[in-house]
Symmetry: none
Subunit: 209 residues, 2 copies
Amino acid sequence: MKQLFVVAEGRMRDRWRQAFPDACAVPQVVDVAPLAVVARQTVWLDGVGLDLMERLARLREAVAAGYRVVVMTATPSEAEAFQALNDGAVGYCHVEAAPEQLREIALVVEHGGLWMLPELVQRLMALSLRVVPTPAPEHPELNNLTPRELMVAERVAHGASNREIAEVLDIAERTVKAHLSTIFEKLGVRDRVQLALAMNNIPTYTAVN
Amino acid sequence: MKQLFVVAEGRMRDRWRQAFPDACAVPQVVDVAPLAVVARQTVWLDGVGLDLMERLARLREAVAAGYRVVVMTATPSEAEAFQALNDGAVGYCHVEAAPEQLREIALVVEHGGLWMLPELVQRLMALSLRVVPTPAPEHPELNNLTPRELMVAERVAHGASNREIAEVLDIAERTVKAHLSTIFEKLGVRDRVQLALAMNNIPTYTAVN
DNA sequence: AACAGCATTGTACTAAAGGGCAGTAGGTAG
DNA sequence: CTACCTACTGCCCTTTAGTACAATGCTGTT
């Protein structure tokens, strides 16, 4: 499988050459699109020297042309990564990635996989969990809370300490604790952290082990 | 690379056997963990017959043990997929996937890639874009966290206690605290509750009432 | 070699959090 | 009136959380 490197300066980097001896560099995808008799070829997009819009345009062109596109950058950024993958890229890596790394990436994307920096994968998933139709939305047990308990719970849900809550509600700190104890039991959580997460519809996985 | 299939019923499916003639089935990952002399082995987790919590527990065990985990399901769901990948899985597919497909997936994950149903990839990206571009609540300081610190922070963000984190990461509770102290300072939060909220992009009000 | 950053852990201590027990007080349903 | 719920609070105690100070080992870089 031949690799196509799209570079603004039209220059191949040594690492790419090391990774794929028979790779070739092209200034733009459109130029080679007609030549791509073999469908599903992999295109490596070097964004260095291009601004955001230009890069995006190149990416879309390549994707539209039916290529598998891996976006390379000198300054990996979360936002850019997601943007790229969202626009059809199947990989996002550093321009200076090691040759072995490049070959790994090629292998992955050529077999239908997605490749990005491990940290980004984590971030991406964490973020998605917030917007995905929450499987456990709205605690029904919330209705079992008394008005006063709800006040306390809401403040904990926003990171307030017992002392702060006591001050705002003008009650003793002991009372806040008393409310919290019943709240914990009613909602089936064990401490204020889990309460805060539950109040914000964020799942907690600690019950096991 | 030998494939491990974790199944509740202890039964291999024909398709798996076809894809990997020398694969073996095990009832649970923990049972085989000591045998895994070769690091980074791939584990296929069949969740059929298990409830959500059980599946999650198995997944975490396997991930903690250092395996690459592919979660298989009979009823693919967006939420479950993201959940699984968020908890460290690197693949999510159908239990009845074709043998060729399984081999593709194995290849992808063994080379550091991520594999999931194409539709899910689209959905995932579309969803992330809705939350990522918002520069306001984004914590840029998150990039200042070291890998280890990030691990701890993630767990706290899911409601884990120091002891639990220490157990999972196999370090002293004291070390967890040490990491947390640095995290608090780096992210500008004062305790684990605010950290958990910050990690989930939930605003905190403590100054005002 | 010297140095910085990361990861790790210990002792010891302070401060929150959380719970058990007990008691007061107001309101409401029976 | 009695029983019950909600709200509130005290004392005392245990468990977590979090910090201060100190130290070791490893891994890169200069």
